[in-house]
Symmetry: C2
Subunit: 415 residues, 2 copies
Amino acid sequence: MTILQEMGKQAKEAAILLATLPTKTKNTVLQKAADALLQQKQTILTENEKDVTAAMAAGIKGAFIDRLTLDEKRLNEMANGLQEVATLVDPVGKLQSINTLENGLIIKQMSVPMGVIGIIFEARPNVTADAFGLCFKAGNAVLLRGGKEAIATNKAIVSVFQNVLAEMDLPKAAVQIVQDTSRESANEMMRLQGYLDVLIPRGGAGLIQTVVQNSTVPVIQTGVGNCHIYVDESADLEKAIPIVMNAKTQRPGVCNACESLLIHESLKDSFLPMIGEALQQKQVEIRGDETVCEKVVGAVKATPQDWETEYADYIISAKVVKNIDEAIAHIRKYSTGHSEAIVTENKENAERFLQQVDAAAVYVNASTRFTDGGQSGLGAEIGISTQKLHARGPMGLKALTTTKYMIYGDGQIRI
Amino acid sequence: MTILQEMGKQAKEAAILLATLPTKTKNTVLQKAADALLQQKQTILTENEKDVTAAMAAGIKGAFIDRLTLDEKRLNEMANGLQEVATLVDPVGKLQSINTLENGLIIKQMSVPMGVIGIIFEARPNVTADAFGLCFKAGNAVLLRGGKEAIATNKAIVSVFQNVLAEMDLPKAAVQIVQDTSRESANEMMRLQGYLDVLIPRGGAGLIQTVVQNSTVPVIQTGVGNCHIYVDESADLEKAIPIVMNAKTQRPGVCNACESLLIHESLKDSFLPMIGEALQQKQVEIRGDETVCEKVVGAVKATPQDWETEYADYIISAKVVKNIDEAIAHIRKYSTGHSEAIVTENKENAERFLQQVDAAAVYVNASTRFTDGGQSGLGAEIGISTQKLHARGPMGLKALTTTKYMIYGDGQIRI
């Protein structure tokens, strides 16, 4: 048995107990875990410093280092996150349906935990705390495999949680971190069928594709968002401009930010130059088709690759379309199925867009930035599913459960 | 673009229209498809005869030929199946939840079709009709890839359906059969990401494992059932004997049949010899542990492999256990997560078994044979999911849909 199989086995055993843990006990663990994070702040920050120093020594810089670095504020946020999860409704043990057959069999469909959840992520240590909180509240054991650059930090955080579990006489294997951060350990994790019930990759498009290509464990794809806004002929420009500006510039690095703007050709002399100027004032680079380049001074010509790119940056692609059909066809071709929006005052067009665009969230007259568990009232989220199986859109606690038919008989046999 | 990609593209285009097809139109198509199957009976049977002759010439025999062969009765059943699906409630367009945020955004979660469903199956031509009926009613296009031995039959059936679609001015690509039945076409289908939204293998354990190992399209695993019955200390033997006999012998070839019997040691001199005799009278071979071989004349010694085998035949493995803990541990080790049962009059043990056994359907005092869409009141089923993502247990029309958030705004932006 390999180390990972052994960890998987222990997680499976822990999961039996976690599945029937009272809500109150789970909430106490989450509260204590939050307290312990704050109490052991210094240890965690010291370990994090080692990771950051090593990463910088290895020549890593920029946003990567930013995501890797913890400080007091981020630790507080992690602790707050755990406390917030404690306040959410327990998704386990809910009766989903009940059906009494003519022969007297009572069929209950109950919500139950998934069992063991695997998370493969990059070098963001906050994922360690977030994932533990949500998986644990939903009654699951979690096996974490984070990026090698964050290993000291992740070990410190997981050790804090495991001590809390041990104090409460609960199995430490409720949360485990894979210590081997080689590529082989990630590959092995993707093939831990029989131990993992689901695998959720959290990170960039490259990581997600690798997991989708190689995993034999069922995967939930999350987070890649090449999100479009289509500004229709009848759009109210008083709505269109703030929506596009908000979706592109409020936080360009996130998956629900707008990456591509489609504009009805009737707006090429009115809205197009206005939005072009507004975006450029916010330092957004515009990569446009011919008409866009003609009407917006400073726009550069888009290459075919631009239409499929999630920039996650101050860049937007822009294209003039003949009508809503062309807009929908373009979106169907390039969408990653995350969030798509139309700005229109035409109800029929709104309805067509809602029906025909194939994405987790489709908006009429609103910013794509609302696709988020917190914003949409779901509470904390483990990610935003861009696939159609199991969960679609922001995934909260319920997405970390499955169902089980419990059938009560009195000797019934099939005739 | 390969042939399969071209088929996938056409299926995607068809799916746009199918997604908003009125229920009435869908039901008319299903009715007409049923009628057309009967009207063109002779053509289909002639094509089927070619398949059967070729298979027999290739040395294939037994149950395989039986599954491949169509006759009037089976064609009637296929037609009836389509008619039955027409009577089921349309799962598309149901409002799953609605939420109005403080900022006025209205978030509706709607049920929508999956889009394009791929089915890889073996040489059972009835799957062609069943899969079309269910996928179509749920608003999906379906791409079928059946076994090479049934290709002439499958082409004939699909052609009947496509003619009905064309007559109704609907896209023929709502149902397509892959004509290339080489292993390569199956492999390519498993990698048709971007065209297929889900892939459902229907067939034996080997086929299912191949698809799970190789598919990059999300897969729903179905149908492998190493189902146990545990007869507890307090079992009412008047219930236990009929339940075991029914679960093992009513139809041994199906996935919800019992494959393994666990018996509390207190019953080794009462129930064990009784059930042993009853099973042997029905020609069931018993492969037992030491105690079973001692108490049941004619039982043969089980090998370690027996505990993990789905016989789908008149064979059962049997083991005496010390207590319910040993029974649950054994089932957790060998279960395929399909259907598991306890026979007991002890409510506490029943509850423990229900909670701790990890399977799609867990029974108290009833035969495992009830895990079936028809039996459990779900209507026709596309398969029985043994995984935890998306659908668990019998999968009816709802399992062939996903959800979409449709969000209605009036200019809202994120603050």
